[in-house]
Amino acid sequence: MDKHLYNLPDLESENGEWDERAHSRQGFLRLCFWSVTGLSLTAVGGGSVRFLLGHSLTAPAGEWIEVGALNELPPGQMHRVTYLLRTTDLWRKGELRGVLYAYSEDGSSYTVLSGTCTHLGCNVRWDDAQQQFACPCHLGLFSRQGEVLSGPPPKALNRLETRIENGKLLAFV
């Protein structure tokens, strides 16, 4: 150990002097100090990080929602469907509104697309005349199948998993 590290400033001699143990115990006490302080800070830090992370890294479980009865979703046209999703925001039970689009060529298999633009999250609109999705925010355009036609979106609209049950179309959001 470098002796210089433990140099103490001079005291005014009329006040007294450094005790012998002021020098001799420094190394040991420093070790003790940093050990217990390190232990405490590790406990406090670890607990705090866990507390602050909370459930923020847990991905939402997802849910099957009802898009509609098949007879209400005739083939050959685009259907805009709004849905309510039950959510838990920390302890708060709530509902989240979302938009999706359903399309079928033949009435037996459906393509269900999320209505959220993959660029910056605005809601896209179906343009029936042009037969394409248009995002009003930055003019991203998507095909009926959700593929990017032009504009800034980096990838196709999110295609949702679907299934048909008791004459109803379900999608997993």
């Binding site: 005291l11 217990v36 406090v44 459930h55």
Partner: protein, 373 residues
Amino acid sequence: MEVEHNKIDRISIPHRSRGIGSWVGAVWGWLDARTGLALPLRKFFTYPVPLYVHKNVLYSLGGVSLISLALQLFSGILMTFYYDPGISSAYDSVDYITYTLPAGWLVRGVHVYNASALVILLFLHLLRTYFMGAYKKPREITWMAGVLMLLVVLGFAFTGALLPWDQSGYWATKVGMEIAGSTPLAGTWIKRILQGGSILGQATLTRFYVLHVLLLPLGILSLVILHIHQLRYHGIAPAITEKGKRDSKKFVPFFPHWMTLDAMIGTALLILLIFVSWNWRAPLEFPADPTSADFIPRPQWYFLSLYQMLKYFPGPLEPVAAILLPGALIGGLLALPFIDRSEERRPWRRPLATALAIAVISAIVVLTVLATL
């Protein structure tokens, strides 16, 4: 002289070792050349602590109180990330913190139980200072800042109890408000100002929340700074025993000699708090129900003596127990250095002061015990 000293610091520290240490030294040297903080920090940490202080663990009560306060501030800040101060959501948010959130039991448990620890530590610190006569000239301001800090901590306890918006907090606050309302002349006004209206509701919760997380913390931090500044400015009160006097010309540095003991006791406190929080979840009663008639309100244990005293002063005499006697005690503590002006500090040579304190402590203990029966 100081400039010379400073220069040595700047030059010597960066060269004390090689490797990572020299990098730390270089960064520190750069910072010091611009901020000039090395010398004041060095003076703070190498402050000469008399040997009679270093040898007596009772002198750690202040430092451990500060560690306990730091834990309170830290765990409190953490809880504000999740707590929701609304009367229809506060309870659910605290329930979520306590039972669902990872490490929530730990953070709220430490906050709840450490509140009691802080009250005990401050009370013991006050007793040590009282019995050793360390409040006397020129340390009046150190003493008064300390008494005010104890009051602020009790303010924290009172406002914090309401925040979960459960039965116990709601009814304890209700009783507290009625006591404030019983103040002669201005009672109704005081009660309404505290409540933010004529009922105990959202306005009250918002007020208590702002007091608890903003104003009281600012107040106590200011008092801590004043208290420590005064302590360093006047130095620790001289030794009162012959043995202590013999040790008062020898010194050890504040760091690591004093800080290590405080850090060890602080760590032991933290371990104890974690243990207690793990074994006994911080209490949360049913949600506040202003219509319920079966909940018997009880204050926190440190207010129990006041609560018990109320029983002996029924009806129109109530303000005597609720306001006059506690007010006299607090006023007496604040004014103590000006009432007791003698230079004698040894407790066995101050029989009146010592006997008075023992009588008051005994009364508080007896009343508290009676209240729990």
